[in-house]
Amino acid sequence: MKLLLKKELCFTAAPLSYFFLAFSVMGFIPNYPILVGAFFTCLGIFKTFQAAREGNDVLYTVLLPVKKRDVVRARYLFVALVQMAAFVLCAVVAALRMTVMSGGIYAVNTLMNANLFYLGWVLLIFADFQVVFCGGFWKDAYRVGVPFLLFGITAFVMIGLAETMHHLPGLAALNTPWGMPGVQIGFLAGSAAVYGLSTVLSCRRAEAHFETIDLNL
């Protein structure tokens, strides 16, 4: 597994998967739908799936002396590692905006502010990617277009909901650095649980499915 993960990170990964991590600092852009940064992280990961497909990566990898299910697991680990790197960057941005940068140009924002509630939504977007895109891809280990389109649609519905939710009566405090702290912490913890479960369950399902599909040369 260690070798396969190294292969995913250093050999298979498209450079864009790493460059697109920079979109995590979009959280500094005032009056911008910052949750789109999470979508861009996933778009970067998608480029790895696309490049790997063009390079016959699945065929090359299953010919190596490895277990077939580990091929799937290594890719999921790669996805999760990139997402966690993006999440750490988002968390740093959120921490700065919740403390030393909470005033000034960030004081008034009709869209979402970078806070714990935002970080929870970042994890939910990533969970959506795991379930809809990764799960869809491993159905035949070939198609990337339709799964990514479905992910794009669901992700933008989620982004729209998240960016405007605080306009609902009684939820305005969700868009402040420390408002409704119990709700914000609970939401982040719940999102982390959903992310973890989605990753594990989607991976297990993809592993089982990958064992049964016929691979074309």
């Binding site: 050999f11 065929l59 090359y60 002396p65 077939k68 691979l215």
Partner: protein, 244 residues
């Protein structure tokens, strides 16, 4: 002396819309070269894919080194090499990058053998895969397959796209490898290559094995169809209803 069976296929069946692999059975012994012959669409690639566990048969079983894939997947893959024409791995990567990544998975990777083969085939490590001609790509696949000490080589049309000199070179390499106990199963349309190196010939027609026997026995068996493998193949396919 009884030779060890490296590959055993028993009553393999697989149905696709418009095509069926029916009760495919044959075996390959240690140090033996088997030519797998048949027309396009006869079921050669499907059979090879089933051997490699890429295709899941509806029934029947494939044993490699006496084991099923489900029993020892990674152990079996350690001992097999696969090369195919028409499969491009990572077109934008250099051969060096691909070699370095591949060797990390094989503890018994023979770097000296790899270098020797790269030189022998005229492959430069700095070239990108996409810059290779079709023939050179096949050669590179062979370098990958031969450098990790595989005991069984499964080759899908390995000599397609190669010039006569390279094909002759490969035939010599196949014979050398067989002498070292490596078993080779290769599908091909170029029957003249088989005349030079195959110990056994397995003929598949419309998803069914017509014969799997020693080359001399095969030629004797189908003597009425012609005196060479090519003549036999042409006549067998022209007279499809032939009864064995």
């Amino acid at each position: 002396m009884k030779m060890e069976k490296i590959l055993e296929i028993r009553e393999l069946c697989k149905s696709y819309p418009g095509f069926e692999l029916k009760d495919v059975s044959f075996c390959l012994e240690e140090g033996s070269i088997m030519g797998f012959v048949g027309r396009n669409g006869a079921g050669k690639s499907t059979t090879l894919r089933a051997i490699l566990n890429f295709v899941h048969p509806d029934s029947g079983e494939v044993r490699l080194f006496g084991k099923l894939f489900s029993q020892a997947e990674d152990e079996i893959r350690q001992k097999i090499g696969f090369a195919s024409s028409g499969v491009d791995y990572y077109p934008r990567k250099t051969l060096k990058q691909i070699l370095e990544n591949t060797r990390s998975f094989y503890p018994n990777w023979d770097a000296a053998r790899c270098r020797e083969l790269m030189e022998r085939f005229g492959l430069a490590e700095t070239k990108r895969f996409m810059d290779l001609s079709e023939g050179m790509k096949v050669k590179f696949h062979l370098v990958l397959a031969l450098s990790h000490g595989a005991r069984l080589l499964i080759l899908d049309e390995p000599t397609s796209g190669l010039d006569p000199v390279s094909r002759e070179e490969l035939v010599v390499i196949f014979r050398q490898l067989a002498g070292q106990g490596v078993s080779i199963l290769f599908s091909t349309h170029i029957t003249s290559d088989l005349e030079k190196c195959a110990d056994r010939v397995t003929y598949i027609q419309k998803g069914q094995i017509l014969a799997s026997e020693k080359r001399e026995d095969f030629l004797r068996h189908f003597a009425a169809q012609g005196s060479t493998l090519e003549e036999i193949m042409v006549n067998l396919e022209v007279n499809r209803e032939v009864q064995i």
